[in-house]
Symmetry: D2
Subunit: 265 residues, 4 copies
């Protein structure tokens, strides 16, 4: 009798075709973060019970662009980098669960299928998008440096519409890379019932990095614009007050999480 | 307290941002089908218990290209066709479950995120790929017709590697569009446990079209080639004997399925 | 001594690698046309001397989406349709040259490199874009028909920004497919001097279809919207008055043109 | 009378829509270079008279991947990086013209339209392709460093077929980044006659960087594989002997060139 292998689909006798390998997953990348305040009610409406708004600064939002290179423990993806590099833009808010503060990704766009599948596992609600962020480079001919005066642009589009754009001018070294995305993540994972009528599976899970290394964070002045789309709700999180912009290079390992609550039988 | 809406993620107060709407889903498209026989053991190794090989012709495989336009009941996607059109290539085998014959999609590639999400719901193990198939057109300057002598090419690539290609020359009208993809689908839906150690959710489900309309099917002579890739197993389903090639235009409605077995608690 | 072959670059000993083959080129496709009037001064500013505004209706503009399948005389591209299918959106105005009325493409976006190269030869100023237009299909589940009441959407994006969108509702059969794109094309072909200081080569040429076949044209009601972009000037051609919308399936052969004026030595 | 502006098409009253701005053009990027020897006859057949094979090592070939960020003098592209970043893979050989040694790009693939247009001006025979090269990053979790033991992969695909792939393992600092691409470029620029029968314009031009800055070059061991395609001739330049692999970060300014020979009237 066949024993199927593979962390994710398609499962086969060898597991070779699985869209993603088992964790741990390894990441090196650059983060461009914009933090701002919106109407706290717009954040609250994205928090299903029993999640509650964060006690402090409940309208804080982080809009984050990331330019990643990633791999599994075997690192073979790094030699065929179409399987390794991807870009993303995601929106993080904070919430409270059983008295603890969590970060929570409410919207996210990526540009590879393996990133969608990882997100499914981690509870990130990933769609496909087109993300671009200026890259630093040792030579300034066509690039900024991660230094005072460095200017970085970032854009997000999906469905052939631009959804967001930002320009960040670095000003000084920073002790933090922002505070909104600094907690463990509290995410829902859902699978609708094939027969209709709710979810066959739903669970609230917690996860975070198993390892983290970060370079010097920088902060600066940032402009940000959000645009409407008939299939997105990002622009409901209107920019009422910019908190700041940040840039940081990081290395991360992700290796699973834990269940907080099973929401279906 | 917030009541979240949305058939799939991201769920919000209005449900507007959901990657896909609730079924029913409506499709119009063209199917180019290649049927062939491979070693039945290669099919059997893709059938987890309690699925068993089909009693007759257990090595039969259908490699199908489809060029779709699709929408929800509101049909608004048809006015913004980046949200409506997609292409796919998929591989179907047959199996037996409790004495009944089912079709089963073992590999599938699509080119839009909404198609990935629909497939997640339906149990199709979708990856992103690049699919192309020759289109018929009333004017022959740069196109075949669906008629004797019409020649149609089809290709599949993923990860910047070509995985399959076929050339079909129509010969005559056919009573069928092949037999491998002609049964209800028996698919697994799986969600790995966030803490490792197996699946948090797994279910064997059955589904099929809620409505179907098809034009005249055509059969013809077909050449097909499969290519290796380090991340795919399609080429294990070697072409031992070509059964036939088919072309048919169809309209389909999909509206959910039923559970066959819940495989996790 | 090596004799280089190839209609276009790269030229090699065999010519096999040339981005495009020699004409004639063959096309089958569907045209969705929006005709409208803008300020005639906005058209005139796109007509370099000695071109002059058309005597009648000098502010008329055609915004045309086309969904093409194309090939060379050998038709081998049809069997590998990634080399055959492409989409485009283009903007046509009319002008007068030596007393004769010409059509003239002032902006155009395509989604394949071979289409860019053909356009270079024909004098179409092609950029890459993302174009989508609703496709008719025999089955109405997810598609309109080319008939009264058929609704077709069309969109254009480039640089991750939407530039134009239209919705056309067919009303009745039409004797024409519009009048703006109905003349021979008067196009400039230019090659800037490698040392700066103007063009090394510039020529005004005339071309048109060597063969043309068209199905029944339909006209209808159309809505159209243009959007700004820092790298485009399409939205300067503001929609002051919609003339009409058209849909037609066509087959075309293109086989070269003639020089009207050589503008450099 | 309208005076048209714009370095390249489309030309308009303001020049804003031109696909590319006037030089100088500024570049920051990473080069992964593979040098090898092929049959010198295969190089010679790519050299139209009066170009002749290089006197020394006439079968030497450089296969180069480049990951670029680029801009015009105003640097506004850097704030909207979809207009700034692109990847390319190109093949360089050497030749002799009037007793001087030149480099010459015989094949090149890029992934943006502005890069195609720049190449048209510079005489690079650009097609669209899909290129990926491993990126170095300060954090090793999912990335190599530019240091002994760093491993970099690179792939090239076009038309949904993989054309080339390489894996480079850095071993030591190098005085050079290879020798094949180290000379001024001798390129043809061609424009076929609209009426058929040869070229309306053809010129042999010379160009090179107006400014250049380079980091420490590294050399290492490299594996390289070339694959066949019906529309490419890269695989004719068979790898007979690997010379070496190189990695270097560079900054470049390009600002025009000079005519060597006008080949048409």
């Amino acid at each position: 009798m066949t024993q199927m292998k593979g962390f994710f689909f398609p499962r086969t006798a060898s597991g070779q075709a699985s869209l993603i390998p088992s964790p741990p997953w390894y990441y090196s990348g650059d983060l461009l973060t914009v933090e701002y305040r919106t109407d706290p009610a717009r954040v609250a409406e994205l928090l299903p019970a029993p999640l509650e708004p964060a006690a402090e600064d409940p309208g804080a939002v982080a809009l984050i662009w990331a330019d990643w290179q990633s791999c599994s423990a075997g690192r073979e993806e790094l030699l065929d980098p179409v399987r390794s590099q991807y870009k993303e833009c995601f929106v993080v808010v904070r919430c409270s669960y059983r008295g603890r503060t969590y970060s929570r990704c409410v919207y996210i766009w990526v540009d590879k299928d393996f990133a969608i599948a990882r997100g499914m596992h981690q509870g990130y609600p990933k769609k496909l998008g087109s993300m671009w962020q200026t890259r630093p480079h040792p030579f300034a001919h066509g690039a900024p440096q991660i230094a005072a005066g460095g200017v970085f642009g970032a854009t997000l589009a999906a469905g052939d519409r631009r959804l967001a754009e930002a320009v960040l001018t670095l000003r000084e070294e920073s002790e933090t890379n922002g505070f909104v995305n600094a907690h463990p993540m509290a995410h829902h994972r859902v699978y609708p019932d094939i027969a209709g009528g709710g979810d066959a599976y739903a669970e609230l899970i917690e996860s975070g990095g198993a390892e983290f290394a970060g370079g010097q964070a920088w902060r600066g002045d940032v402009e940000v614009r959000l645009f409407d789309s008939p299939t997105e709700e990002l622009s409901r999180l209107t920019v009422e007050e910019v908190i700041g912009g940040y840039y940081r290079q990081v290395g991360v390992v992700w290796n699973g999480g834990t269940s907080l609550e099973r929401l279906t039988d």
